[in-house]
C-alpha cells in the first residue's frame, strides 16, 4: 500500500510545545514515527557558564515551566554536595513538601491536557481549576505561582508559618475529595476508557530496554522511583512506588492519578514531622569539583551533571531531562496505532520539549 508522510507538530492543537513527529502512515495506521526536536533551544546550559553559581539557580528554574522547582532542587543539591554543605533539616523538609506540591500541580496539568487531547473540554477545565488551588498554595508560601524561586544554595528562602500549614492541609483535604470525582471520570467513564485502554502499548520488556522513566515505566509495571533512594527528606517518609500493570495509556493515567494521592499523603507526613529550626545556612567559598545530581521529577528521573573549577561560574552544566529519555518509548508505542490516537499517545509520555532542549 502507498505510504503517506504527515508532519505532526511543531504546531498542533494538542501540543503545547514544539515537538515534531513525521508520521509514516499506511491508510490511517502509523508505520513509523521520526522525531525532530530543536525548535526551542535557548542555550541555558551555556548561560550558566557566564553567571555566578548562585544566580544560576534562577536560570535552571527556567529550564522547565512546570517542574521548575525540582530543577532548582537538583541544581542546589548538586552544588551543596560539591561544597560539602549539610543544609538544615527543616530546609530539607520544606524542599520535599514544595516538590510534592509541584508534582501534584504537574500531574493535574497533565490530566487536563490529556482530557483536552481527546476533546473532553469540560473535564480539562475542571482539572485545571483544581490546579489553580495548588498554585494558590505556591503563591501564598513563596510569592509566585509557577516559577517559585524558593531554593538557594544552602537552604530555602521561604519558611512555613502555622497559617501556611493550615492553608496547605485545608486545600489538599478539599482537593482530595474533588479529585475523586474527576478520577471517576478518567478511570470509569466508558468513552474515556475507549480512548485510553489498549492504546499506546508498551510492554515491561520494551520499557526496560528503552530506558523508560517515571510514570511510563510505572505504568508498565516497573517500580522505578528515585524517591525511594531517600534523597532530601524522603528518607524519613514512608511510601512505596506506585505501579500499574495495564502497560497502556490507561495504566499511565492510573499511575499519575494515584501519585496525586500519594503526594498528598507525603505532604501530610512531612508536615507532621516538620522539625523546627533554621531554613538556611550561609555559604562560604566557591565550589570546586564535579557531581552528578539526580532526582525524581513528575515525568521521571532528571540528571544534572555539574562541573565547577573553583571560580564563580560553572565550567559545565549538563541537564538530562526525563522527556528526552522517554522519546524512544514514544517511538515504540506509535507504530501500529491509528492516526486519531497519536495525540493521546504523545501526551501520555507527558512531553516537556522545552526542558528537553534547554
Amino acid at each position: 500500500m502507498a505510504k503517506t508522510v504527515i508532519p505532526f507538530g511543531p504546531q498542533h492543537p494538542v501540543l503545547p510545545e514544539p515537538l515534531q513527529l513525521k508520521l509514516v502512515l499506511e491508510d490511517d495506521v502509523v508505520v513509523e514515527a521520526i522525531p525532530a526536536i530543536g525548535y526551542v533551544h535557548r542555550g541555558l546550559e551555556k548561560l550558566t557558564e557566564l553567571k555566578d553559581y548562585e544566580q544560576s539557580v534562577y536560570i535552571v528554574e527556567r529550564v522547565c515551566g512546570i517542574c521548575s522547582f525540582m530543577h532548582s532542587m537538583a541544581y542546589t543539591r548538586g552544588i551543596e554536595s560539591i561544597m560539602n554543605i549539610q543544609i538544615p533539616q527543616r530546609a530539607e523538609y520544606i524542599r520535599t513538601i514544595l516538590a510534592e506540591i509541584a508534582r501534584v500541580q504537574s500531574h493535574l496539568l497533565w490530566l487536563g491536557l490529556l482530557a483536552d487531547s481527546f476533546g473532553f473540554e469540560s473535564l480539562f477545565m475542571e482539572t485545571w481549576r483544581y490546579r489553580e488551588d495548588i498554585l494558590d498554595i505556591m503563591e501564598m508560601i513563596t510569592g509566585n505561582r509557577v516559577i517559585i524561586s524558593a531554593n538557594k544554595v544552602g537552604g530555602v528562602t521561604k519558611d512555613f508559618t502555622d497559617e501556611h500549614i493550615k492553608f496547605i492541609l485545608d486545600t489538599i483535604n478539599r482537593l482530595e475529595e474533588k479529585i475523586k470525582d474527576v478520577e471517576n471520570v478518567f478511570l470509569n467513564n466508558y468513552t474515556v476508557k475507549q480512548r485510553l485502554a489498549g492504546i499506546g502499548i508498551l510492554t515491561p520488556e520494551d520499557a526496560r530496554e528503552l530506558g523508560a522513566l517515571g510514570p511510563i515505566a510505572k505504568g508498565s509495571g516497573i517500580p522505578l522511583d528515585l524517591r525511594t533512594t531517600g534523597y532530601s527528606a524522603y528518607k524519613y517518609l514512608d511510601f512505596e512506588p506506585i505501579v500499574d500493570n495495564h502497560c497502556d495509556s490507561y495504566g499511565r493515567t492510573v499511575v499519575r492519578i494515584k501519585e496525586i494521592y500519594q503526594s498528598f499523603q507525603l505532604i501530610r507526613q512531612a508536615i507532621s514531622k516538620l522539625p523546627s529550626g533554621e531554613i538556611f545556612i550561609p555559604v562560604k567559598g566557591l565550589p570546586n569539583g564535579e557531581v552528578i545530581s539526580r532526582l525524581e521529577q513528575p515525568r521521571g528521573e532528571a540528571i544534572y551533571y555539574i562541573k565547577t573549577n573553583g571560580t564563580k561560574t560553572l565550567s559545565r552544566l549538563k541537564i538530562r531531562t526525563p522527556t528526552f529519555a522517554n522519546i524512544p518509548t514514544l517511538l515504540k508505542m506509535l507504530p501500529g496505532s491509528r492516526l486519531q490516537d497519536v495525540p493521546v499517545i504523545v501526551l501520555t509520555i507527558d512531553p516537556c520539549i522545552s526542558c528537553t532542549e534547554r
Binding site: K51, D52, Q55, S56, V57, Y58, I59, R129, D136, E139, M140, I141, T142, G143, N144, I147, S149, T157, K158
Partner: protein, 111 residues
C-alpha cells in the same frame, strides 16, 4: 442522569466563578511578588543590588547617584531586596501599572 441534573441545577444557582476584571482585581497574598519598589533616600549607591541581580536589570551609577531599573528584564526574584544593606528596595504585592513605553525606571538622588 439524576446526578447530572443535580450538577446542572447547582451550577445554575451558583455565583459565577470568574471575576469582572479589571473592575474587580484578585487579592494578592501577603508574600505575592508583584513588583519591586525603590526608595532613594537611604541608598548609598554601593551597587550590590546590580551585582547580585541575576537578570542584569539594575544599573547603579555611583558618580551621578542614579539607580536604574529595567522592569522588562526584572524577573521579580527578590534577590536585590534581600541583599541591599540599606533596605531601600522592597517587594510589593501590588501589580505594576501598564507602561506606555519601554523606558528604564531611572531615579536620581538629589541631596
Amino acid at each position: 442522569m439524576a446526578n447530572m441534573l443535580n450538577i446542572v441545577l447547582k451550577n445554575f444557582l451558583k455565583k459565577p466563578k470568574t471575576r469582572l476584571y479589571p473592575l474587580k482585581e484578585r487579592d494578592s497574598f501577603e508574600r505575592t511578588r508583584h513588583k519591586i519598589h525603590f526608595e532613594t533616600a537611604d541608598c548609598i549607591h554601593c551597587g550590590i543590588c546590580q551585582r547580585k541581580c541575576p537578570a542584569d536589570a539594575i544599573k547603579v551609577n555611583r558618580a551621578e547617584k542614579i539607580w536604574e531599573l529595567n522592569a522588562y528584564r526584572c524577573i521579580i526574584c527578590g534577590e536585590c531586596v534581600n541583599v541591599c544593606p540599606k533596605k531601600c528596595i522592597t517587594m510589593l504585592n501590588k501589580r505594576r501599572d501598564v507602561a506606555e513605553n519601554k523606558k528604564y525606571i531611572s531615579i536620581k538622588k538629589v541631596d
